[in-house]
């Protein structure tokens, strides 16, 4: 294998990893605050991809408007899911919440089949993302370069919110102690809503990028990237935002490089992610950057 191909694969791995990262952040944020693995989170990729298709085709909005709009709408949709499926269960055992999340996931997938149909739809990828550029002798699609850049920009914005703003401080407080957060005069439901909004709109960005990378949108398109992102979140240390991003990059790179170095392993690509999950759970359940997982009141 030449250095060029290796570099090329490295960039592909970073790019794929940044997609996992975008989605993993939402898993980790919701887990941090509700101790819930939001299994419906991956399906938001699908919701966002369809929404983007309709925004571009039916409403004929330019992508510069429709993509951010879809991020906002998906964020609001995330709040809605919380209100309907999780909020009534705030005081219920955690397992009820988990079951509810799985229910939401099935509901969204099947709703998409009923309303839109199971036949994949093409994604109207704007031409500027499909361009191929020549980078130091490497031929790379610009989308591959834009994806990690977008991820890092969104991550910076998110970290700013979480660490520097009042709402962000309340989010970190709530991740440790609901009751005392309330005793600060903080409307906890609003904080949880903001958490869902942020996580869901990042998932929308991931969904749009995913749909541009693999421009076939179907009701189950969120399942595999959702699972991979969940694994990335666990790998990075669930509850830790930077960890989720690191986990995403490690998983994406690992997946691509394994296939590049051992082409005969190509069909085990998805298995790689699950092997990682099992190994992490066995040997380092707190992940790369996680603190010991604490129960909370």
């Amino acid at each position: 294998m030449t250095a060029t191909i290796l570099t090329q694969q490295f960039i592909n791995g970073i790019s794929l990893g940044s997609l996992y990262a975008l989605v993993a952040i939402g898993y980790t944020m919701v887990y941090g605050i509700l101790r819930l693995i939001n299994f419906a989170h991956g399906d938001l990729l699908m919701v966002a991809a369809y929404a983007a298709i309709y925004a571009v085709t039916l409403l004929s909005l330019p992508w510069q408007i429709s993509f951010p709009l879809v991020m906002i709408l998906t964020g609001l949709f995330g709040i809605l899911v919380d209100r309907v499926a999780y909020k009534p269960l705030r005081d219920a055992p955690r397992i009820s919440l988990l079951i509810s999340a799985i229910g939401v996931s099935f509901l969204l997938e099947n709703l998409a089949i009923v309303l839109i149909g199971g036949v994949p739809k093409g994604f109207p990828r704007p031409d500027i993302f499909a361009r191929v550029i020549d980078l130091w002798g490497l031929r790379i699609q610009v989308l591959t370069v834009y994806t990690p850049i977008l991820t890092l920009v969104l991550l910076m914005g998110l970290l700013y919110i979480v660490h520097r703003t009042k709402v962000g401080k309340a989010m970190r407080a709530a991740s440790k102690d609901f009751e005392t957060t309330r005793l600060m005069g903080i409307n906890l439901d609003r904080i949880i809503a903001v958490t869902f909004f942020l996580g869901s709109s990042l998932a929308a960005a991931g969904g749009i990028m995913w749909a541009m990378k693999y421009p076939q949108v179907n009701p189950f398109m969120g399942v595999i990237p959702g699972l991979k992102a969940f694994i990335a979140a666990v790998l990075g240390g669930i509850g830790n935002i930077v960890g989720a991003v690191v986990g995403g990059f490690v998983l994406g790179l690992g997946e691509i490089l394994i296939v590049a170095l051992f082409p005969q392993m190509a069909q085990y690509r998805d298995a790689f992610a699950f092997a990682v999950l099992i190994l992490v759970l066995l040997f380092r359940p707190t992940g790369i950057m996680g603190e010991p997982i604490t129960d909370k009141t």
């Binding site: 401080k169 309340a170 970190r172 005392t180 005793l183 600060m184 005069g185």
Partner: protein, 234 residues
């Protein structure tokens, strides 16, 4: 200012408060003393909306608190230093204090912060430190300071002297008196009955969910039953 009437609280089958009635007049320090498990914390939790009474009423000025969500109760001007300090360990001292001031106008923040730092100079030295790494006593000061950052008109304190060195305990009670002198009304729950009765204008004794005795701090200090049961005399 605060009036609790015939309050009943259950935890599942446990009847924790069996008809509590008490008053906290404006400008006063009122203390609630009693043995472990008497229901002191439960009373404060009911006032702050963290547990819902089955029966009874809690009036704060004209507001009925028993159906109000906690954050709205707090916004009426109530500050709480809960049992066990409960500082946010993953936030710095300063961030903890900022959350205490969550609903204050930002323009007031600096001034309020200076006030807290003057009450607890130690917190200023530690302002950038994670609250989880503070000593127990420092955490207690932080919990107290955080409760005061909202400039509450009523402060609920649940065992603020717990686990503190005797000198610091004295300091805490002095602080309580000084914030009271600055206009805050205080409902103080304490195991340290002696100290609490000394600073309190009025006191209630709670026994297994019932108020069994009440009177001015002075009266209760002189009361034989109190001396036997809570001040360790025989």
């Amino acid at each position: 200012m605060l009036e609790v009437k015939d309050l009943h609280v259950y935890y599942g089958g446990i009847h924790a408060l069996k008809g509590i009635t008490l008053k906290v007049p404006q400008g006063r320090i009122v203390t609630l003393i009693g043995a472990n498990g008497a229901g002191k914390t439960t009373t404060l939790r009911a006032i702050s909306g963290l547990v819902r009474p089955k029966h009874g009423s809690i009036l704060f000025f004209d507001h009925e608190l028993t159906r109000m969500p906690t954050y709205k109760i707090i916004r009426l001007g109530i500050g709480v230093a809960p049992e066990g300090r409960r500082v946010f360990p993953n936030l710095t001292v300063l961030e903890n204090l900022e959350l205490g001031a969550y609903n204050r106008p930002p323009a007031e923040f600096r001034k309020d912060l200076e006030w807290i730092y003057s009450l607890f100079p130690r917190l200023r030295e530690r302002s950038k430190q994670m609250a989880g790494t503070l000593s127990g006593g420092e955490q207690q000061m932080l919990a107290l300071g955080r409760a005061l950052m909202s400039r509450p008109s009523l402060v609920l304190l649940d065992e603020p002297s717990l686990g503190l060195a005797p000198l610091v305990v004295e300091e805490v009670f002095q602080t309580i008196q000084s914030i009271n002198a600055q206009g805050a009304t205080i409902l103080l729950v304490e195991q340290n009955a002696m100290a609490a009765l000394h600073v309190a204008h009025y006191a209630y004794v709670l026994e297994t969910g019932r108020i069994t005795l009440e009177g001015t701090g002075k009266d209760l200090l002189a009361d034989e039953r109190v001396r036997k049961a809570y001040l360790g005399e025989d």
